[in-house]
C-alpha cells in the first residue's frame, strides 16, 4: 500500500475515478479497486498474460507505447466476447467470462478494466433532459448544472465534428422539418451535433502534408472509438476521454490515490452503528491468485456498475431494501438504417459513399424529450452487421409479411443471401440508433440467481421487460428515424427492432432517493456511497448516462468530503 486509506472506491469505470480524483484533490487518501486489467501501465506490461505488480500510485508509470500495443484497433481483438481485451471478465484471458443469467435474447455489453465501459463507449456526453430530473429526482436539474459544467471542462467535452455520415443525418433531419438545437439543456425536439468527450481534430487534418502517425493531438476521425482509442501523443492526451486517460491520470496526479487492478470486491464489511450499520471496509479477491484480503477505511464508495453494485450489496448480506437491484432502465435500443444510391449521395454530400467506418462512431443526435433520443451509428462491419442485422425482437425478416403502412422495407433479423446483399451496401448505409425513454418498473431488475455462482458468489440474474408505453415511444422514434433517412434520400429502410435484453446503457438499479439519500449515501448503511449508473433515479429521458453519472459522482465526492472529512 502506498498510504493509509481513508476511502475505498470499488470500480474504476465511468464513476469511480471521478470520485477518486475529486477526493484526492481535497487531500483524502483513496484506494481505487478495479476487477479487470490496466492497459497502458508499465507495471502491467503483459496485462492479459501475467499478474504483474500489485498497485500503482504514480503518473510516471503510465505508458502510451504499452497502450498502443494493447489497443490494436481490430474490432475482434478488442471486442470479441471471449478473447477481446475489452471483454467482461478477468485480465487473464485463459479464465472464463464472469457469468450473468439473462433468461431472454441479448447480452450485457460491459468492459472490465481501468476505464471500465468508458473504454468502448462512444464518449457521447449529453446532459439529462431537465424535465426528467426535475420531475422524478430528489435533487433539481439546476443543482446539477455546476457539476455538469465541471465535468465538461475537465474531460473536456466539446462539439463533435462532421464527416459525411453526420452531414447526411443533419440534411435529412432539417428536410424533415426539425429544429436545430443549440442549447445544452434540451427542452424541445430537434437535432444537434453530439457534445462528446473527444478532443477536437487538428484543423489542418485535411491538408495534404498532415500525416497520421497515431501520435498527433486530437481526433483523427479513424473510427475506432469503440475499440478503445489510442490516438494521441501521451496517455493523458489520448483523443477519446475514457476515464483511463482522463480521470485516472488526474487522480494519480493528486498524489493521494492508489489504484489496484485485478481485485474483485466480494463483500462490503460493516459494523453496528447506532440503530443500523456503517461500512468499515471491503473483502476482495485477487483475480490471478485467488488470494482474499480485507482492507478497512472510513468510507466505502460502490462504483461497480448497475449490475455488480446491487449484486455486491446482496452478496454482502446488507439490509433488505425493496429497491435494491430494482427498477432497471436500459434505453431499450433499436436501429433503423437507410441504404442510399450513389447518385443521390453525390447530390447531398458530394461523395458517392457514406462510409460508416469514417469519423467518430456517433457524432450526430436527435433529441425528443418525452420519447428519447436518436443518434448516428457508424462502426466497422463486424459490430455493424451484428447490432443492425443479427439481433431482433421480431425474428427473421423473411418470415414477416411487411405491412405496407410501415415506413420501412425490411424489419427483423436478416440472414442468408439477403444479409450478404445488405452488407455489400455497407459503404452506402447510414444507421441510426434509438435510445428510448423507458420507465422505471419495480418488476424489472437485478437479483441473485438461486443457485448459479462463480468465484465471487451467486451470479446476477437480470430481468427487463419494457412496458407498452415504452414500446409506443420506441415505435414513434423508429418512425421519425425512417422519415429522416427517407428525407435524406434513402432508397431502402431497414428496422432491426432490437430485443429488450441488449444491455448497454444499464441504469437505475440503486436509485437515488430510494436506496440512497439525496447525497448518494445508502439509507441503511452509513459511510457507504454509490457513484455509478445504478444510482441514477431514472433513464434521464434517453441521453447517454455517463456524463450525468460523472457529474453526480463529482457532487457525491463533495458530500463525502463535507460530511466525513471536513
Amino acid at each position: 500500500m502506498c498510504k493509509e486509506v481513508d476511502v475505498i472506491v470499488i470500480g474504476a469505470g465511468g464513476g469511480g475515478p471521478v470520485v477518486a480524483k475529486e477526493l484526492g484533490e481535497k487531500g483524502i487518501n483513496v484506494l481505487l479497486l478495479e476487477a479487470g486489467p490496466w492497459y497502458g501501465n508499465k507495471k502491467w506490461k503483459n496485462p492479459n498474460h501475467e499478474h504483474g505488480d500489485i498497485s500503482c500510485c504514480k503518473i510516471d508509470d503510465l505508458s502510451k507505447e504499452l497502450l498502443n500495443e494493447s489497443f490494436t484497433c481490430y474490432e475482434n481483438d478488442m471486442n470479441d466476447i471471449i478473447l477481446g481485451k475489452l471483454r467482461w471478465g478477468t485480465a487473464d484471458l485463459n479464465q472464463n467470462l464472469w457469468e450473468r443469467n439473462i433468461p431472454q435474447e441479448g447480452f450485457t455489453w460491459q468492459t472490465s478494466g481501468v476505464g471500465g465501459s468508458t473504454l468502448h463507449y462512444f464518449a457521447n456526453s449529453p446532459r439529462a433532459y431537465p424535465i426528467k430530473i426535475d420531475k422524478e429526482w430528489p435533487i433539481s436539474y439546476k443543482e446539477m448544472i455546476p457539476y455538469y459544467e465541471k465535468v465538461e471542462a475537465t474531460l473536456p467535452v466539446s462539439q463533435a465534428p462532421m464527416t459525411s455520415k453526420e452531414e447526411l443525418f443533419f440534411f435529412g433531419a432539417k428536410k424533415a422539418g426539425w429544429q436545430l438545437i443549440k442549447s445544452l439543456n434540451v427542452t424541445s425536439p430537434g437535432y444537434r451535433p453530439q457534445n462528446n468527450a473527444i478532443l477536437l481534430p487538428n484543423p489542418n487534418i485535411n491538408e495534404s502534408d498532415f500525416t497520421f502517425d497515431g501520435n498527433s493531438e486530437g481526433c483523427t476521425l479513424c473510427g475506432h472509438c469503440v475499440n478503445g482509442c489510442r490516438i494521441g501523443p501521451s496517455i493523458e492526451k489520448v483523443a477519446k476521454r475514457s476515464t483511463l486517460v482522463s480521470y485516472v491520470p488526474y487522480a494519480l496526479r493528486t498524489g493521494k490515490v492508489e489504484i489496484r487492478p485485478n481485485s474483485f470486491v466480494i463483500k462490503i464489511l460493516t459494523e453496528k452503528y447506532k440503530d443500523g450499520l456503517k461500512a468499515v471496509g471491503v473483502k476482495f479477491r485477487d483475480t490471478w491468485t485467488g488470494k482474499i484480503e480485507e482492507i478497512k477505511a472510513k468510507v466505502v464508495v460502490m462504483s461497480a456498475g448497475a449490475i455488480e453494485t446491487p449484486r455486491l450489496w446482496l452478496n454482502s448480506g446488507l439490509p433488505n431494501n425493496q429497491w435494491v437491484g430494482k427498477g432497471i432502465t436500459n434505453h431499450w435500443f433499436d436501429c433503423v438504417s437507410g441504404i442510399f444510391d450513389e447518385k443521390d449521395l453525390i447530390k447531398t454530400i458530394g461523395n458517392e459513399k457514406v462510409n460508416p467506418y469514417i469519423g467518430q462512431n456517433s457524432a450526430a443526435r436527435f433529441d425528443y424529450p418525452g420519447l428519447g433520443g436518436i443518434q448516428g451509428l457508424g462502426i466497422s462491419p463486424g459490430l455493424f452487421s451484428t447490432i443492425l442485422y443479427s439481433v431482433s425482437d421480431v425474428g427473421y425478416s423473411f418470415l414477416r409479411k411487411n405491412d405496407a403502412k410501415t415506413p420501412w422495407d425490411i424489419e427483423g433479423r436478416i440472414v442468408g443471401r439477403e444479409l450478404k446483399e445488405v452488407m455489400i451496401e455497407y459503404p452506402r448505409t447510414l444507421s441510426l440508433l434509438i435510445l428510448t425513454d423507458d420507465q422505471v418498473n419495480k418488476g424489472n431488475g437485478v437479483e441473485l440467481d438461486t443457485y448459479l455462482r462463480d468465484e465471487h458468489g451467486l451470479i446476477p440474474k437480470i430481468k427487463y421487460h419494457p412496458s407498452n408505453t415504452d414500446r409506443q415511444k420506441r415505435d414513434k422514434l423508429a418512425a421519425i428515424s425512417a422519415d429522416i433517412l427517407k428525407k435524406a434520400g434513402a432508397k431502402k429502410i431497414i428496422r432491426s427492432n432490437l430485443p429488450p435484453g441488449l444491455f448497454i446503457h444499464i441504469q437505475s438499479t440503486m436509485r437515488i432517493g430510494y436506496v440512497t439519500d439525496s447525497n448518494c449515501e445508502a439509507l441503511q448503511v452509513k459511510r457507504l456511497f454509490i457513484a455509478d449508473n445504478s444510482v441514477l433515479c431514472n433513464c434521464l429521458g434517453g441521453p447517454n448516462p455517463t456524463l450525468t453519472t460523472q457529474a453526480l459522482a463529482t457532487r457525491t465526492a463533495n458530500k463525502i468530503s463535507g460530511i466525513y472529512f471536513s
Binding site: N76, D80, I82, L180, I231, P381, Y396, K420
Partner: protein, 214 residues
Amino acid sequence: MSLLKISKINEISHTNETFKALIEALAPESQNLIVKYENRILHEVSYQSVYEYEIWTLNHSLSQTILKIKFNINLANPTAKMLDKAAKQLIESKNNKEPVNSDILRKIGDFAALAPSDRLLAIDLLEKLRVNLSSLPIPFWNNAGFVLLIVGELMMLNTIGYYSGGHGYDFSNLKIGARDKSENYYSSWKEVGYPGPSKGYKCLKGYLIDKFTE
C-alpha cells in the same frame, strides 16, 4: 479404440457438421452474388471457417463454480443436439418446405439434412419456443430463457465471426491471447468495402454550430 472414445469422436463430428450446416444457412457462399455485383471483387470466405469460430466461442463462454472449483461447460455439443430436436419436430410436423436429404439424415442428423431455408424454420421454432422443451438436452432442458439466450448468440456469432475477421483466426492452433491472423482474416472486409483499421482520414467537414449555449 474404446466405445466411449468412438462415441466422443462421433459426437464431435456431428457437432462440426451441424454447425457447418448452420453457417451455410445463415451466411451462404458468395459465388451467386458475383453476377449482381460484377464490378466488385468478391472474396470467398468459406463458411467452414466461421463454424469453427462459433463452436470455439460456445465452448468457452460458460462455466460454473461448484465447491470453489470452476468448471468449463462445453455448449457446442448440446446446442447441435438442440438444433436436431427442432429440425426433427419440423420434419415430423411436415412443415419443411424442401425435401429432407435422407443420406445426410442417416449419417449426420436432422438439422443438417434440411435444406438451408428449412434450417432457419427449425431455428425459428426454437426462438418462438414452439419445441418440446422437455425433449432438449441439458442445459436447455425445460430452460426457455437459456434456449432464447443461446439461439440469439448463435445468430450474433455468425455475423461477428464473419464480418469482424473472427473466422480468420487459426482455430486449429489457437492459443488464448496469442491469435495469429491468417490470410482469411481480411476477406470479408474486402467483400463489403471496408479497408481495415486506419490511423485517420482526411474527411473533416467542419462543425454544425458555432458553440453550444446554456
